[in-house]
């Protein structure tokens, strides 16, 4: 470990931005229909182009890439916020039960025959509702008790998983495919309207996340010292819970349950840009917005016309890469930190 530490310079962020734009470009140039890169670029420059290429680029690929970037950034930022607040590197953004609540609502809605357009809003509302319930159960004094938060999140997640299983059993063979696809994470069939539905919540979640950052920096030294330097720990806890609830519920509504991103990306972000919350939040968002569009492009192009579920692909590719990075003998000494 180096004795001297220098803050990451502008080149680090330039490289992260370049990687992100490259991933977005790969997402745009990849798809079931093979289109020459030049035609894609031409269509991008001409939004009103009334050709098949224009439709594919503007109505299918561009919204999908944008959604992938939003999902990746939201999950990565949520994972980072919760890991920083709970000072625990094994926390993932689904800890608070948001995804399980959404999954249960989606499964029950499909089993009950709710019309397809109403399913995502129901999932979103259930996700937020679960976060509010978990926060209510975990509150103590003016703030949140971390152990109660974890217990409430894990218990409710178990309950909702049971509900999903029941719904799957009821739907039986064939009928359960929609629910299963949703549980495995997928961006298939998503468009601008889906993004428009959750965009205000994503924005609100980002604002709350940004507001929590200075306090999270002080919390690196523990709750006692943070309080002594003037941090309102209870306010920070509610900010983080509110922000992650909005971001995760929005992400889950767009993509279903995409695991791995929220757990792993914050670790990589801290390795690249250090533990300052301001830097890690930005780098985590950029890395999330790189990883998910890239994974989605891969999911679409590995076995066309079939799509590999995004969550499955990320686990198959990402977990070995992560284990290699962290568990090789000369790798990082610790998960927490750098």
């Amino acid at each position: 470990m180096p004795v001297l530490r220098k803050p990451p310079d502008v080149f680090t962020y330039a490289a992260l931005a370049a990687a992100m734009f490259a991933a977005l470009a790969i997402g745009l140039f990849t798809g079931g229909t093979s289109i020459a890169p030049g035609d894609v670029a031409y269509a991008l420059g001409h939004p009103r182009l009334s050709s098949d290429v224009g439709t594919i680029v503007w109505a299918l690929r561009l919204p999908r890439v944008a959604i992938a970037a939003c999902v990746g950034a939201s999950l990565a930022v949520s994972g980072f916020l919760l890991q920083a607040l709970l000072r625990n590197p094994l926390v993932d953004p689904f800890l608070t039960g948001v995804s399980a609540g959404s999954a249960a609502a989606v499964a029950v809605a499909i089993a009950a025959g709710v019309a397809a357009p109403f399913v995502p809003p129901l999932g979103f509302a259930a996700g937020l509702g679960t976060a509010i319930l978990v926060g209510f159960l975990a509150r103590r004094g003016g703030g949140i008790d971390v152990e109660r938060l974890i217990l409430a999140g894990v218990s409710l997640s178990a309950l909702f998983s049971a509900i999903v299983t029941l719904a799957l059993l009821r739907l039986g063979r064939g009928g359960g495919d929609t629910v299963l696809a949703w549980l495995a994470g997928s961006l298939a069939g998503r468009g601008w309207s889906d993004l428009g539905l959750v965009l205000p919540y994503l924005g609100a979640g980002c604002l709350l996340a940004a507001a929590a950052v200075p306090a999270l920096n002080a919390l690196r030294l523990g709750h006692g010292l943070a309080r002594a330097v003037g941090v309102d720990v209870a306010r920070t806890q509610w900010l983080v819970l509110g922000s992650t609830a909005l971001l995760v519920a929005a992400a889950v509504t767009l993509s279903g349950v995409v695991g791995f991103v929220g757990l792993i990306v914050p670790h990589v972000a801290r390795r690249i840009t250090g533990t300052d919350a301001r830097r890690s939040l930005v780098s985590a968002a950029m890395l999330g917005a790189t990883l998910v569009p890239l994974a989605d492009a891969l999911a679409r192009s590995l076995a066309p016309p079939l799509e590999i579920p995004l969550g499955v692909l990320l686990a198959f590719v990402g977990v070995p890469a992560f284990l290699y990075l962290y568990l090789r003998p000369q790798g990082a000494r610790r998960l927490w930190g750098t």
Binding site: R5, A210, R220
Partner: protein, 263 residues
């Protein structure tokens, strides 16, 4: 800046009284050493003054204002507390750690770090002799350097009142002395310091007054020669003390130190 006044303070937790009837006043620039046996309420007293353990009776005033009514950031600009519960930050430079003391000087949602914050952090590092350590990883510091870095964090907080909980624990005599000198240097001018120490002679060496706490009550708060009275110490610690004079200054040691007999 740095006026402290406690009036008949009682603090309880979990149905147990931790402090009872504590009254104390400190003037700017004064250094008070707080001594007493384990569990006497020393840390609780510091936490109460810092607004982290609200008293159920009595009041604590800093510069004439009641701590209980201050908002967290406002309170942090008046009183700095370095307790033993700070966690070792991973992957963080010494300067970043010290700059945490500037949290209360910005809006709580503000990401920026002003030149003033940086200057305060650098100045604090200089004043504890760690000027060249700013870019070092905090984890690579020795125990003595870490203690001084925590002290620098309290200095960066620029508060009139500084509370330190056992700043010399785990330190060898040389590093303890260096740390005590840094504390003594800080408690000149307007900064008031209340320092918990276990070594009674360290307390006698640096403090203007020594406060002896026993079973949640303040047994004495007086200049070292008066406070380190064997009768008061025996009441606090439950063992007999011998008092000696070194170049006219009173020093004490447990009576049993003459020869420790094995039963």
């Amino acid at each position: 800046m740095g006026h402290l006044s406690l009036r008949d303070v009682r603090v309880a937790a979990g149905g147990r009284r931790l402090l009872e009837g504590v009254s104390l006043a400190a003037i700017p620039g004064e250094l008070i050493a707080l001594v007493g046996p384990n569990g006497a309420g020393k840390t609780t007293l510091l936490r109460a003054i810092a607004g982290l353990a609200p008293p159920e009776h009595g009041e604590i005033l800093i510069d004439g204002r009641n701590v209980a009514t201050m908002r967290p950031r406002e309170r942090a600009r008046s009183v700095a507390l370095i307790a033993g519960d700070a966690e070792l930050p991973y992957g963080t430079t010494v300067r970043e750690v010290v700059a945490t003391g500037r949290y209360a000087f910005r809006a709580w949602w503000d990401w920026s770090q002003s030149d003033g914050d940086l200057e305060a952090a650098n100045g604090a590092l200089e004043s504890v002799g760690l000027g060249a350590f700013g870019e070092r990883d905090f984890e690579t510091l020795s125990s003595g350097e870490r203690q001084r870095a925590w002290l620098a964090l309290a200095l960066a907080q620029d508060a009139g009142l500084v509370l330190l909980d056992e700043p010399t624990s785990h330190l060898d005599p040389r590093h303890a002395l260096e740390t005590l000198r840094a504390i003594r240097g800080l408690a000149r001018g307007a900064t008031t310091a209340l320092v918990v120490l276990h070594d009674l002679n360290e307390a006698a060496a640096i403090a203007d007054r020594v406060a002896v706490l026993g079973d949640g009550r303040l047994l004495a708060c007086a200049p070292p020669d008066d406070a380190l009275d064997p009768a008061i110490l025996e009441r606090a610690f439950g063992i007999a003390f011998d008092r000696v004079s070194i170049d006219g200054a009173a020093r004490v040691m447990p009576h049993g130190y003459r020869s420790v007999a094995f039963p």
